[in-house]
């Protein structure tokens, strides 16, 4: 099984995932109102949304585990639910369990068999994924004796078997400690490097922010925004602690972008990094005294909250780029 970033002979490679107005109803409850999105090949795609937004329902539809009420979609070029295509997909469910009477190695062997990997490759495949997720020492342990974190590592190993073209991870770090989360980030990075598409369903915005190339924010069963993480970074600005004649600094800074003032701090949004020295020079020339200059950026959480109609607690609260913030909802 090969990585998915290469082009197929004779034509463009279809998107990893493409959906049009995908809808799912459970009786009178509309779980997914009309999901339209495109996940390009070889990217790490974050799928975000509040609880009940329809994220897990969407994942189940994409994998053929549930049937759409309306709409259509394609995964790796085939219609959703195509049985043969599932050989090229790795999946870590949000809530899952493996046969408790089996060892980790046996669970992986079962999934090698189900995925129809050549039997000669099983041992090497199993060894590789166990090493990758840090479970090599517990390969012969029965899974019913595993902690939740170890179960999640095993689930990740199962999803990575056979070098799938698309890996769908539904809350892959929810049961992991900080070390485990770092490991998962490294694994996702390695997957991206080898051209695997990763569809990451998570409510841990900081996790998503750190690993994803692109995110879709879903609310009430619809995608309300789709953005590249690079765009979020481009929308960054600068914060300058400046003292001097009243109002002059803001007047000068307004030439470089939208400004906000918070005490002695002057924030300029959307300014290019290359323009910052010129801004600082202009402020000094206008009589301002510069005490500090720090880059700022809007966090994914702030964007997420603004899109879903709930503004951050303090609209002026921006975070310096050098300081991370763990956010769990």
């Amino acid at each position: 099984m090969s990585g998915g970033a290469g082009s197929a002979a004779g034509g463009p490679v279809p998107a990893a995932i493409e959906t049009r107005e995908l809808r799912k109803e459970f009786g009178r409850i509309v779980a997914l109102a009309g999901l339209t999105m495109t996940v390009p090949r070889g990217e790490v795609f974050g799928f975000l949304g509040p609880n009940g937004a329809g994220k897990t329902t969407a994942v189940k539809l994409l994998l053929g585990l549930s049937r759409p009420t309306a709409g259509h979609g394609r995964v790796l070029g085939a219609g959703i639910g195509d049985v043969a295509t599932r050989r090229r997909i790795g999946y870590l469910p949000e809530l899952f369990r493996y046969q408790g009477w089996m060892t980790a190695r046996e669970v992986l062997a079962l999934h090698c068999e189900l995925a129809r990997l050549p039997r000669a490759d099983w041992a090497a495949e199993i060894r590789a994924v166990l090493e990758l997720v840090g479970l090599a020492a517990r390969a012969e342990g029965r899974t019913e004796t595993f902690s939740k974190g170890m179960q999640q590592r095993l689930g990740l190993a199962v999803a990575l078997l056979g070098r799938p073209d698309l890996v769908v991870l539904d809350e892959p770090t929810s049961a992991l400690d900080p070390v485990g989360r770092q490991d998962v980030r490294a694994i996702i990075g390695a997957l991206r490097d080898r051209g695997t598409t990763v569809f990451l369903n998570s409510h841990l915005l900081t996790e998503v922010e750190r690993v994803c190339d692109r995110v879709a924010i879903v609310d009430r069963g619809r995608v309300v925004a789709e953005l590249r993480m690079a765009e979020l970074t481009r929308e960054s600005g600068v914060g300058i602690r400046v003292t001097g004649p009243d109002g002059v600094a803001r007047e000068v800074a307004a030439r470089y972008g939208p400004t906000r003032v918070d005490g002695e701090w002057l924030f300029v949004d959307g300014i290019a990094e290359a323009e910052v020295p010129a801004l600082v020079g202009a402020l000094v020339a206008s009589g301002g005294a510069i005490h500090a200059v720090v880059p700022t950026r809007q966090t994914l959480e702030e964007r997420f909250m603004s899109l879903l109609g709930a503004p951050p607690e303090d609209p002026n609260e921006y975070e310096t780029a050098s300081v991370g913030r763990e956010t769990e909802q």
């Binding site: 043969a84 899952f96 079962l110 999934h111 189900l114």
Partner: protein, 285 residues
């Protein structure tokens, strides 16, 4: 992956689970115990009174049929306990979610589970059945009319109950589905008894009720076949002064089912499994 390959993967998985969870060892141990006790008990009977006269033969045959009925009940319960949690719990705890994301269909999972458990039940029914009959024959010298077919009927009866339990497990909790299958088994047996009474006394309503019950759940068809196979010959019955026609309709006797009824048993299993697959395919995971 072809359908057969996928079904065999799940069947092997089910067999391994039965082995690992010690179900097979429990059945082997219980079989050894029951066969030993059967041989001991029938040897005591033979010591008390030589099994030579027609009445003694009739007596031994009745105890043998009672033994088979007990075994039939144990098999039915084993089938229900094995089948009732075969699908539902795997959906509820997310086990099937991970498996069905692989190139395998729900129908293949269902058929594989059925096949794996069916192998366990058939092997147990035949091994234990033949060993128990051998113990009876060795201890008493009693030769039923068709000793070789009796365990086959019991195995078939257990497959019908396994099918019922698995089909119910696609939509109903294990406890509720198991209870329904057990009650169904009891009602089918009782309806068979009433149908037998209808036959014996030429009562159309009872006869029709018995037939309807057998159509709905044909487990009693096969139990009657087993009881008939273990019964004494008509010559023995005649010598003991028992009317063979009346005897055939007692709760612990019977006749070999017609080919039509045997065909219906096969159709019933296939039909029930089709319904079960339909229900499983429509169930949200």
């Amino acid at each position: 992956m072809t359908t057969i390959e996928a079904i065999l993967i799940i069947a092997r998985l089910t067999l391994r689970e039965a082995f690992r969870r010690r179900l097979l060892w429990v059945l082997v141990g219980l079989t050894a115990l029951v066969v030993g006790l059967t041989w001991w008990a029938f040897s005591r009977i033979a010591e008390v009174t030589p099994i030579t006269g027609a009445v003694q033969i009739l007596g031994v045959s009745q105890v043998t049929v009672m033994l088979a009925f007990m075994f039939s009940f144990v098999l039915a319960m084993t089938a229900v306990f094995a089948g009732a949690p075969a699908i539902g719990p795997d959906i509820e705890n997310g086990l099937l979610l991970a498996m069905l994301a692989r190139p395998i269909r729900r129908a293949e999972v269902m058929l594989g589970r059925w096949l794996g458990l069916a192998v366990v039940l058939v092997v147990y029914a035949l091994a234990a059945g033949y060993l128990e009959l051998a113990a009876v024959v060795l201890a008493t010298g009693y030769a039923p009319v068709e000793p070789l077919t009796a365990p086959l009927y019991l195995a078939g009866e257990s497959l019908i109950l396994l099918t019922l339990a698995i089909v119910l497990s696609t939509r109903i909790t294990s406890v509720a589905g198991g209870a329904m299958a057990v009650v169904g088994y009891g009602l089918a047996w009782m309806a068979g008894v009433m149908g037998g009474v209808g036959e014996a006394f030429n009562n159309d309503i009872l006869r029709a009720a018995g037939t309807l019950a057998r159509l709905i759940l044909p487990s009693d068809v096969l139990w009657r076949g087993c009881a008939g196979a273990l019964s004494p010959s008509e010559r023995v019955l005649g010598s003991a002064g028992v009317n063979a026609g009346i005897y055939r309709f007692s709760p612990f006797s019977g006749t070999a089912p017609s080919l039509l009824w045997l065909a219906w048993c096969l159709v019933w299993v296939a039909g029930a499994m089709s319904i079960g697959i339909f229900l499983l395919r429509r169930r949200e995971l």
